[in-house]
């Protein structure tokens, strides 16, 4: 808990913002105004936030289908994201990408990804670029527990070790891949699987932003020092269904209730900083109000924003195409 006051406020603010954003998207989905489906990050906020507090715009992250939280933590514009999800021309991808393809290269956000396991090679490439240019930047490859089984993950672990790439494999284990439990689908042990490649690997409580922040700090330092990759196995709860329309019957109501009461990163944070007198209750309440207003505003703006011009349907396929 060696975080400065400013950092503490940022951590809480970002986690709260993600939470409100996701729960609002879930609500707006039922309005029918958002196309397709979304995979929401509610419950997992401390992971992206604890990691991203170490990162600047030069550092890059490659994300998953569940990418809103990673994007917000990496500094993507919330209005642009909401407008994108609402499929507006003011969206961060001008309405072409949607929830599963949020990206902002200037912020080092290399994209959410609709392909499970798709991100890790891309993050390795960003890390390679950092290494070759000597920029000192690192890259983060996010994956879920289910995605960790993909061959691309194993290949990326090997490549990252062989080339000593400054990449952090952030494996967010929310216990499920869709309706399938990681306890069944993931053979062996994720930390051991990382370590077997000679990669420093550790398990982290993903409801505790301080724990994530510390582990990520070691990983980022390793990367910046030229010591190569790290794997973090981050244990998180997934509050909502796999996707917005998931009836989520494979989890018992008790299980879902318990996770909200016992594994809430916002509560965990409050319980640490308030008794210790690091922050005041009303500061946090003010943040809650602020992010609620921010998200409200983003929805209002998105609804008011113009829809994409059908004439743009085939633009931006190439930089140039004679």
């Amino acid at each position: 808990m060696q975080l400065a006051r400013e950092d503490l406020l940022t951590a809480y603010r970002t986690m709260a913002l993600i939470r409100v954003f996701e729960e609002r998207v879930q609500r707006e989905m039922s309005s029918g105004d958002i196309p397709g489906s979304t995979h929401l990050y509610a419950g997992q906020e401390a992971s992206a936030v604890g990691i991203s507090m170490h990162l600047g715009d030069m550092d890059r992250v490659a994300s998953t289908h569940r990418g809103h939280g990673h994007s917000i933590a990496k500094g993507c514009d919330v209005d642009g994201m909401m407008a994108e999800i609402f499929a507006r021309s003011t969206g961060i991808c001008h309405g072409k990408g949607g929830s599963m393809h949020i990206a902002d290269l200037d912020k080092g956000m290399l994209g959410a990804n609709g392909i499970v396991g798709g991100a890790a090679p891309i993050a390795c490439g960003a890390a390679l670029a950092a290494r070759m240019t000597g920029s000192g930047a690192v890259a983060v490859a996010y994956s879920g527990d289910g995605g960790f089984n993909q061959g691309t993950m194993a290949e990326s672990l090997n490549l990252a070790r062989v080339w000593d790439l400054p990449v952090i494999f952030a494996i967010e284990d929310n216990g499920f891949a869709e309706a399938t439990a990681s306890s069944w689908a993931v053979a062996g042990d994720i930390v051991a699987r990382g370590a077997a490649y000679g990669i420093p690997a550790e398990r982290v409580d993903g409801t505790d932003v301080f724990a994530v922040h510390e582990a990520a700090g070691r990983a980022v330092a390793r990367g910046r020092a030229g010591d190569g990759p790290t794997l973090l196995h981050i244990m998180v709860p997934r509050y909502l269904g796999h996707f917005s329309g998931d009836s989520d019957t494979y989890r018992t109501p008790d299980e879902k209730r318990a996770m909200r009461t016992d594994r809430d990163c916002l509560k965990v944070f409050r319980d640490k900083v308030l008794p210790a007198g690091l922050l005041e209750m009303d500061q946090l309440d003010a943040i809650d109000a602020e992010v609620a207003a921010l998200v409200d505003g983003s929805v209002v703006a998105a609804r008011a924003a113009p829809r994409p011009d059908p004439a743009t349907v085939a633009t931006d396929v190439y930089v140039s195409y004679p």
Binding site: P35, A87, R88, G95, I115, F176, E178, T249, D309, V317
Partner: protein
């Protein structure tokens, strides 16, 4: 005849065949759902509910949830098929075939040829395809031209619940690897579907409408749009024949050519990308084999050379519309040198 949805028709086809032959089993991500979880089992029945209920009847050995490792389980299907089983694999979205394409196109598709005719690889690979649900570039592709390109694969694209059931049963009984593609926007479409088992043979096009002015060939969800365009055109006295080849490999080119003997004009409607796509393929075959019958240029109605967009306005501009089909037909009907 009983009315059933695409989804029900497929479920019934699977169920009837699994009852008939114990070597048949299904596998894929969450084809049951709830594996290892404390709550409901068979919670999903696949991402689109097609396999729902099979777990209860056939048990977990024959309804196998898988980890998210498409190469491993698609390759395992090929291996199991060579070893005497008859797997039916679900790859949730055809867009995901990129992570396991080697096992499809270099392994399963080529065993028989490479091994000099000895291997038999009876497997069915089911996947959803298609745009129209706001699912964006990585969850909306058609991609059957890629499979059609590859010798050794058969490729099925049904357009009605009746065909879906009959073609799926045929696919399961077929001894070659079959790619079976289901349009994700059509699962709730309802049609006449008999209760028992029946087959729709591969390589036999359905002629859905007869008209002397033009032949419209369409696949999957585009068949309905072609029929609608034909109905509108008929109001203006333009009579279209509508052909649904139902399988892209093998392709029933003979039926298309037969209709051209009367119509002499061809419009091909397809949801796949245009370059090296199905529309080009059929146009290319006809320009070689039935050139003498053609009275006008062949028109291809396809999306632009672009990925599938997210926003509904863009998607609507992307997918061939009834209006575009109509305009293409009017173009060829009015064409003269």
């Amino acid at each position: 005849m009983p009315r059933k949805s695409f989804r029900q028709a497929l479920n019934e086809g699977l169920r009837l065949e699994m009852r008939r032959d114990p070597r048949i089993f299904v596998m894929g991500e969450d084809v049951a759902g709830g594996k290892g979880a404390s709550g409901e089992q068979d919670a999903w029945g696949g991402a689109f509910g097609v396999t729902k209920g099979l777990l209860a009847e056939f048990g977990p050995e024959r309804v196998r949830d898988t980890p998210i490792t498409e190469s491993a389980f698609v390759g395992a299907a090929a291996g199991a098929a060579m070893a005497g089983m008859r797997p039916v694999v679900e790859i949730m979205f055809v867009d995901f075939m990129g992570v396991c394409f080697d096992q499809i196109f270099n392994q399963a598709a080529k065993f028989r040829y490479m091994f000099g005719g000895k291997a038999v690889t009876p497997m069915v690979l089911r996947a959803t395809f298609g745009a129209g649900t706001g699912s964006a570039s990585q969850h909306s592709q058609a991609l059957y031209p890629l499979f059609t390109h590859i010798p050794g694969l058969k490729v099925v694209v049904p357009s009605t619940p009746y065909d879906a059931k009959g073609l799926l049963i045929e696919a399961i009984r077929d001894d070659d690897p079959v790619i079976f593609l289901e349009h994700k926007a059509m699962y709730d479409d309802v049609g006449d579907v008999p209760d028992g088992a029946y087959v729709v043979p591969f390589g036999e096009a359905a002629v859905l409408r007869d008209g002397g002015d033009v032949t419209i060939v369409a696949f999957g969800r585009m068949v309905g749009r072609a029929m609608e365009a034909a109905a509108r055109l008929a109001r203006d006295g333009i009579e279209a024949t509508v052909v649904d080849p139902r399988t892209t490999s093998p392709l029933d080119i003979d039926t298309i050519i037969e209709t051209l003997e009367e119509t002499g004009r061809l419009v091909i409607v397809d949801e796949a990308y245009p370059r090296c796509g199905m529309a080009a393929d059929i146009a290319g075959i006809i320009a070689e084999e039935a050139f003498g019958l053609l009275k006008a240029p062949i028109r291809k109605v396809t999306p632009p050379h672009a990925p599938v967009p997210y926003a509904p306005e863009l998607e609507a501009a992307y997918i061939p519309s009834v209006e575009r089909i109509e305009a293409a037909v009017r173009g060829v009907v009015g064409w003269s040198r």
